[in-house]
């Protein structure tokens, strides 16, 4: 799915990422763990084509998007990627249905079955009957389900989730992880950031990040 070679990123004098090498296969479910401030969000913003100012090489589906136009990047994000954020990032003045609709507004994919697509993902995340509700009328877990539905309504190849359970209790976290597991079983590649090892268990593989450096297992982190 993607290949990262020697990626680095600095904020002024501060080095947020250094010498990152990572490969993720199609259909994989990868967890990225690390303490707060270690560079997890910085890394997945690069992987999600949200941040283009980095050094090194990043290939998504064997393509380098470093120098493509902003419009083209938007299209790739809209059609091939799906994002889930820790604090849901729903539009509070829009109802569930309208929030999930957002990626379809901008998609160039054919969509005369727009309504069907939305109803389909609403069913998948278990929110049937809540279409007309505002986010403020939903629990945290339900809001995150809306966010997941929004991320997958366009059937992306890769879903990127930044601490999707960070704002949820452990029972709700499990429900959310079940949805991710199912999604992965249906063929979607998932990269998920978390600092909860229980949540990371749901992934096939976990990598660790500390002070902007990536490690393949926990032991090597401790050694360094």
């Amino acid at each position: 799915m993607l290949k990262v070679t020697n990626i680095g990123k600095a904020y002024g004098k501060f080095t947020a990422l250094e010498n990152i090498n990572l490969e993720v296969a199609d259909g994989e479910f990868l967890a990225i763990m690390g303490p707060s401030g270690s560079g997890k969000s910085t890394l997945i913003n690069i992987l999600g084509l949200l941040d283009q100012s980095y050094t090194g090489e990043y290939l998504l589906k064997n393509k380098n998007y470093k120098t493509v136009s902003d419009n083209f990047l938007s299209r790739i994000r809209g059609d091939q990627l799906g994002f889930v954020f820790q604090n849901f990032k729903l539009l509070t003045t829009y109802n569930v249905y309208e929030n999930i609709e957002i990626p379809l507004i901008y998609s160039k994919k054919e969509q005369n079955n727009k309504r069907e697509l939305i109803e389909d993902v609403i069913e998948k995340v278990g929110l049937k009957g809540k279409e007309k509700n505002r986010p403020s009328e939903l629990s945290g877990g339900q809001q995150q389900r809306v966010a997941i539905a929004r991320a997958i309504v366009n059937h992306p190849n890769l879903v990127i989730a930044d601490e999707p359970t960070g704002a949820l209790d452990s029972k709700t976290s499990k429900e959310i992880m079940d949805i991710f597991t199912k999604l992965n079983q249906d063929g979607t590649t998932i990269i998920m950031v978390t600092h909860d090892s229980e949540v990371a268990e749901y992934a096939m593989r976990t990598v660790y990040i500390r002070d902007g450096r990536l490690y393949n297992d926990e032991k090597s982190v401790k050694k360094s």
């Binding site: 913003n45 999600g48 949200l50 941040d51 902003d70 419009n71 938007s74 299209r75 994000r77 809209g78 059609d79 994002f83 954020f85 604090n87 990032k89 539009l91 003045t93 957002i102 990626p103 507004i105 901008y106 998609s107 929004r150 366009n154």
Partner: protein
């Protein structure tokens, strides 16, 4: 497109008070635009109507003026018309009369009086007798008190008088006030046409000229020809009448008024525009999270720019529509005080909406551009 406009309506509805205050400037500006145009159009309409509603562009009018007031018979004849038609550049000549009344001689017993007469009007207040529309060839006549006194020394009905040799019966007598001009007598429409209309002197010759013709030269030439060959050159003079000059003066006053109100409208729209810019800046900075979300899910920076531009335009057009409604009310009020009627034309509505749209586009552009160009990662950090 409609869904994008709906999104704009939704966002505007979220901050009704703030947005209404912003619209106020547009409302005032557009209402003044409507008023200016209504007054201008109404004024122009009245002026052109007053000038006989003729397209004066391709016309030269030659007037005949009798030398003495007593003699009102003179004018252009059919031979004169033929002469005028031969002038190079003239396409067609029409003879007309600047007055619609006929002059005639009334006789009662031995008394002879010159008088003016016309076909009877729809309504007339009588001091004696009953007024009704006389049928076709009726020989009834309504006469003024003045004429009655001149002929009979008092107001009496049913006397027989002769007008230019035809006998009429006096049906009623009316008073002519100082305020109202009226002829000395009225006869039925049919009789007027049959007996008197052709006596009305043709004191106007209207020359239709070719579009490229030199009107000044044609005018001079026509007057010269008439002075030499006009059949009634001995009892009157000829001159070019120049309606253009009158309308030029009116137009100048009109333009001055228009420029003044346009200046006010311009300033209020400028202030309104700055208000729109301000509110759009606020909106953009309040909605950084929304922008970030949309960008992450496929919106291009153009999509974002358009979204805010549409919002700015919708805001201004709503203001414009309210302004138009206000303009209507204002024009209705103004009309109570104006000597002429201000009219709102379709052109005024289109212009108002175009101006609103333009204000939205111009003053919404910089804030919308700011929204479009914001850095994505920063936007997504917003809560």
């Amino acid at each position: 497109m409609t869904d994008k406009i709906l999104i704009a309506f939704k966002s505007i509805g979220k901050n009704k008070n703030r947005n209404f205050l912003t619209m106020l400037g547009i409302i005032i500006g557009i209402a003044s635009v409507i008023c200016i145009l209504a007054i201008g159009d109404g004024f122009a309409h009245t002026v052109t109507k007053g000038m006989g509603n003729h397209n004066t562009r391709n016309k030269v009018v030659i007037m005949y003026q009798p030398t003495t007031d007593d003699n009102t018979d003179g004018g252009f004849t059919n031979n004169d018309e033929a002469v005028l038609e031969k002038i190079p550049g003239v396409e067609q000549v029409k003879l007309a009369s600047s007055v619609v009344e006929a002059g005639a001689k009334a006789q009662y017993k031995t008394k002879n009086v010159t008088m003016s007469l016309n076909k009877q009007p729809k309504h007339l207040k009588l001091v004696k007798g009953d007024y009704f529309q006389m049928s076709g060839a009726s020989n009834g006549v309504y006469i003024s008190e003045d004429l009655a006194h001149k002929l009979f020394k008092k107001n009496v009905l049913n006397r027989l008088i002769s007008i230019d040799g035809t006998v009429f019966v006096v049906q009623g007598i009316y008073h002519i006030s100082d305020m109202n001009y009226r002829p000395d007598a009225y006869v039925s429409k049919t009789i007027f046409k049959q007996l008197f209309a052709n006596q009305i002197s043709k004191d106007e010759a209207r020359l239709s000229v070719e579009p490229k013709a030199n009107k000044k030269w044609i005018g001079k030439r026509a007057v010269k020809q008439m002075k030499k060959m006009g059949e009634q050159k001995n009892i009157g003079t000829y001159k070019v009448s120049n309606p253009d000059q009158v309308s030029k003066q009116f137009t100048k006053i009109l333009n001055d008024i228009t420029y003044f109100i346009a200046f006010i409208a311009g300033i209020s729209l400028l202030i309104a525009g700055i208000g729109v810019m301000n509110v759009m800046y606020i909106t953009v900075s309040e909605r950084r999270k929304e922008i970030g979300i949309r960008r992450a899910f496929g919106a291009t920076s153009n999509d974002i720019r358009n979204q805010f531009l549409i919002e700015s335009v919708v805001l201004c057009v709503i203001g414009g529509v309210i302004g138009i409604i206000f303009g209507y009310l204002l024009v209705a009020i103004i009309n109570a005080f104006l000597p002429f009627k201000a009219v709102i034309t379709a052109y005024a509505l289109i212009l108002s909406l175009s101006v609103s749209t333009a204000v939205g586009l111009i003053f919404g552009f910089i804030p919308s551009n700011k929204a479009a160009k914001s850095e994505l990662v920063g936007l997504l950090k917003e809560e």
